[in-house]
């Protein structure tokens, strides 16, 4: 059985449908990026997975029902729900004491080791730390917990580039091994692309794309073509088209790479490019720039 298994997972807030009956199956050892515009249902889905909110439909996380068996689940699952949600009054040493006091899988020496690489002092209170340092502290606490599933909901929002890079580097180098599973949502997709093993797009409470990164790279291809080749390239039915420095960049879903290579430079698109094409097209946000594309 998969680590996370959902069938017809749905959630409504009054008349608003936040999640419209999604099916998903996440295997152990994957790093899944859950990408979607604001209001797509990412946090709703994560809240259901973490047992923070009730839901409709079928959902098992590590074989447990997250809503009714939350206490047992939290021994195996850890999450960072937001940046800077550590209580402002707590001292770094108190945070270490407390987590060591309540979490059976917390390795204090490991957390101290991570903190030693930062400039965070044991005697500081969270309110005295910068936002980036709070994120480092939270990550140090979480990485020292031997959890089977780690859920990160916008863990780097509002951090500068250096902290963001360091955050994902430590996650990958010091934490991830193939028995752990990470689910992460973020708007800063570019920084995440090379650490993900799977990618899923949510929009309007539905899954609109779900691939492993191998599938993603095999399926989506981008071609840079000059004006003389544009008609030929358009005939291959790109899903999205934009212009960069007088050349057209066409994004294809499942086109023949050899055929495209004859027309121009071929490369693998970034998740962000595919996101804009798929979600922007659906939501009509980038409709103007996508005009002239054969659909």
């Amino acid at each position: 059985m998969a680590l996370i298994e959902a069938h017809g997972l749905r959630k409504r807030y009054g008349a608003t449908v936040a999640l419209g009956g999604i099916d998903l199956s996440i295997e152990e050892g994957r790093i899944l990026g859950l990408i979607g515009p604001n209001g797509a249902g990412k946090t709703t889905a994560l809240n259901a997975i973490l047992g923070l909110a009730p839901f409709e439909g079928e959902l098992r996380v590590l074989g447990l029902d997250p809503w009714t068996e939350r206490d047992a689940l939290m021994r195996e699952v850890c999450f960072i729900a937001d940046v800077a949600i550590l209580p402002r009054w707590i001292k770094v040493s108190q945070a270490l004491d407390y987590v060591a006091g309540v979490h059976p899988r917390f390795d204090r020496a490991k957390a101290e080791g991570f903190l030693a690489k930062t400039s965070i002092k044991r005697t500081s209170r969270v309110k005295e730390l910068s936002k980036g340092m709070v994120a480092q502290l939270h990550l140090a606490l979480v990485m020292a917990i031997d959890a089977r599933l780690l859920v990160l909901d916008e863990p780097t929002l509002g951090l500068d580039l250096l902290y963001r890079k360091q955050f994902y580097d430590s996650l990958l180098n010091d934490y991830f091994d193939h028995t752990r599973t990470i689910v992460v949502t973020t708007h800063q997709v570019e920084e995440l692309q090379n650490i993900l093993t799977d990618v899923m797009f949510l929009n309007g409470g539905r899954i609109v794309l779900s691939h492993s990164m191998e599938e993603f790279e095999a399926r989506y291809v981008e071609a840079l073509v000059g004006p003389e080749q544009l008609a030929a390239a358009r005939a291959l039915k790109p899903i999205y088209e934009r212009e960069v420095f007088g050349r057209s960049v066409l994004l294809f879903d499942g086109a023949d790479r050899k055929q495209l290579a004859a027309l121009g430079e071929v490369r693998t698109p970034s998740i962000a490019d595919v996101f804009v094409a798929v979600i922007g097209g659906e939501n009509g946000i980038y409709g103007a720039s996508a005009k002239g594309v054969n659909r």
């Binding site: 909110a53 949600i85 707590i90 108190q94 309540v102 979490h103 899988r105 031997d146």
Partner: protein
């Protein structure tokens, strides 16, 4: 990273599951109470400050040479001077009053503050159940505050006694004038009884009600705690001309029907004739109140589980 933790990472899952340390529910509870004390240092600092001011007052009065310990008490329009015992009583009342106020504010913010600053998402990411958390918060007004009150009252009494006795001796008077009647041990016994009967058992539903409101209210838990009962009382008064709700509230606050205090003279007083545990234990208000307290706490646990950060 140490080599040891590297090795732990490479263990198969089954082995890792057994490698964890066992943490008993009692230990989780202990750490949960400790974290309340870390966060809310006013639990002990505010009553301690009240005790400090009492002792400061004593020192100043001694320095001024005012050795006649008396307190003016107004009873039924007549002003009466009472002796040294009244001073010790007043000390006790001051510490209790401060502790009561701080404890009410604590209860109203306990489950609201963590949602307002979103730190509830951090607490909920750890394997501590909502029941453990709510019980740890209920322990503060029901056990920690009463214990703090008792310790501070005894300490303040002893300190005042020493200061007065020393001052009396220095003036060539008998130090025994600083000793109240009834004596301090009897006074402490009555205080303990009063704290357990009124502050813990009789007030338990009030504290638990405030905890419930703080788990429920999206903002202004103080108003949400106070206004609905008052509004209900006003509606009752206008619609039916009766005051059952107001009387009930007054009785709960004054402890009148508990049989554990004398309120005949207007204020809550300690009186050795009132130490009648059987009468207290037989009062229906006590038991109904405790049932209500349990219901409020259960509701608080449920609300903490369901409410999102605000």
């Amino acid at each position: 990273m140490s080599t040891q933790s590297n090795a732990a990472n490479e263990l198969p899952l089954e082995a890792r599951a057994t490698a964890q340390t066992f943490i008993s529910p009692g230990r989780r509870f202990y750490w949960s109470v400790r974290r309340e004390l870390w966060e809310n240092r006013s639990i002990y600092l505010a009553p301690a400050a009240a005790a400090g001011f009492v002792i400061l007052g004593v020192l100043i009065s001694v320095a001024r040479g005012a050795l006649h310990l008396s307190i003016t008490v107004t009873t039924n329009g007549m002003t009466e001077q009472r002796g040294v015992a009244a001073f010790y009583d007043a000390t006790m009342a001051a510490i209790m009053l401060v502790a009561l106020i701080v404890s009410a504010f604590y209860c109203l913010s306990a489950l609201h503050g963590e949602r307002r600053d979103r730190s509830v998402l951090f607490w909920k990411s750890l394997p501590v159940s909502d029941l453990t958390t709510v019980l740890a918060k209920a322990v503060i007004p029901l056990i920690v505050f009463p214990a703090v009150m008792m310790v501070l009252i005894v300490a303040t009494h002893v300190a005042s006694l020493v200061i007065f006795a020393a001052a009396l001796l220095a003036h060539g008077k008998s130090a025994s004038m600083a000793w109240p009647s009834p004596g301090l041990p009897q006074m402490w016994g009555m205080t303990l009884y009063h704290i357990v009967a009124i502050h813990v058992l009789w007030y338990a539903p009030l504290y638990c009600y405030m905890l419930m409101v703080s788990a429920w209210a999206k903002r202004a838990p103080f108003l949400w705690a106070v206004l609905p009962p008052v509004a209900a009382g006003i509606v009752e008064k206008i619609a039916f001309g009766s005051s059952h709700i107001f009387l009930l509230l007054r009785d709960r606050l004054s402890g009148e029907s508990s049989g554990a205090v004398t309120t005949a003279t207007g204020g809550m007083k300690l009186d050795s004739t009132q130490i009648a545990p059987l009468h207290f234990l037989a009062s229906p208000g006590l038991w109904l109140g405790l049932v209500a307290a349990v219901i409020f706490l259960a509701a608080a646990v449920r609300l903490r589980r369901e409410q999102a950060p605000v």
